[in-house]
Assembly symmetry: C2
Homo-oligomer: 204 residues x 2
Amino acid sequence: MEKIMKKGDLTRQNILSRAVDLASQLGLEGLSIGLLANTLNLSKSGLFAHFQSKEALQIQVLDAGALIFSEMVVRPAIQEPRGEPRIRAIFEKWIQWVQSKSNAGGCLFVAASAELDDRAGPVRDHLVKIQKDWLNTRVRVAMTGVEKGFFRSDLDCEQFAFEEHGIMLAYHHTARLLRDPKAEVRARQAFERLIQASQPPRSV
Amino acid sequence: MEKIMKKGDLTRQNILSRAVDLASQLGLEGLSIGLLANTLNLSKSGLFAHFQSKEALQIQVLDAGALIFSEMVVRPAIQEPRGEPRIRAIFEKWIQWVQSKSNAGGCLFVAASAELDDRAGPVRDHLVKIQKDWLNTRVRVAMTGVEKGFFRSDLDCEQFAFEEHGIMLAYHHTARLLRDPKAEVRARQAFERLIQASQPPRSV
DNA sequence: CAAAAATACGAACGGTCGTACTATTTAGAT
DNA sequence: ATCTAAATAGTACGACCGTTCGTATTTTTG
């Protein structure tokens, strides 16, 4: 049974795929229904009928983006063995995600975070949930790093995830806005320092 | 001679002050001339006459924001003594800047960076210049930290500034989007770890 | 105080925005 | 092949966008 999907669902997926691209460039607010329809050779009203409001579209764009992120970053990392390999895989895939050509406009969530951090409403709430989920995932992975003995037993895993996030944000900024070719090296260096500080004290 | 400023320059300053606020909430693109005029009881065309285009307005908003940042962060930090006090003052004032009530919509430059990182044109170029200036300032301050012996002589000062920036970005995200009350503690902890790693090796 | 220059206003322009309604086309089931 | 329901198109709406222009008002200057 391949055909669970009616035709409408297929075009909706098509729309969302393009919408994720555009939203990463123009932001969730800057993404307009008319423009989105034009780039897909659809009528504005025909496209609009798939969502009942722009707000609903924005929420589905976030979900579609999160799904891609899961497939490109979370899934391949999760199937690495627990401990060091998985921790390093997350960072590696995350870097690749930022560089990914499908992210022509930069990471959708970096853009959306800056855009929505001071707005209220369901779109913001949805973004917060997605971001907290991703944070928690990384906290848990750090915990398995502790269990496997790769990390110190007294490591503050939430602190680890916080600092890891900071490295990625600085990388995003340095690579995408400043276009500094050293950005990736800087990010890796910072990550190695974070790893080292999280490991059991060196036997001297 | 107090009156170098004609009346028009005064209102222009007023406009820019409000515009910086609004832009930090709505972004540089989301900031509209009509709305800006309304909140100031000005006519749209009267306001527009001060700038000849929205693009010019956006550039001046960035400059106005950079000026406020200079006065709230750079200047007080610079007049601290070289070395550790100045380095810590930068971080401290920077944290206060993010919390500052004048930044109701979050840091203008975080918002603008995410918005403009994939656009071309003079507004983006202007933002890049401002951001590079700030980065260079911090690199130079780190260098004086080396000269004063507070930091290791082989410290990579650009790397230091990169990681410092990451901590602030993670703080911004964690405090403003996630509304995590532990954000500030996390940021301080990360900064202490960065400081410690930058200091001369502990005599054991 | 008058002349000149700077500043602000009101109305209007062509566009695009999100959304609502109605029609037309298309697809799937019988 | 026909009927029904889903999917898309068409049209219109009021609101707001950035921008222009002509005019009125205020400020500065001589």
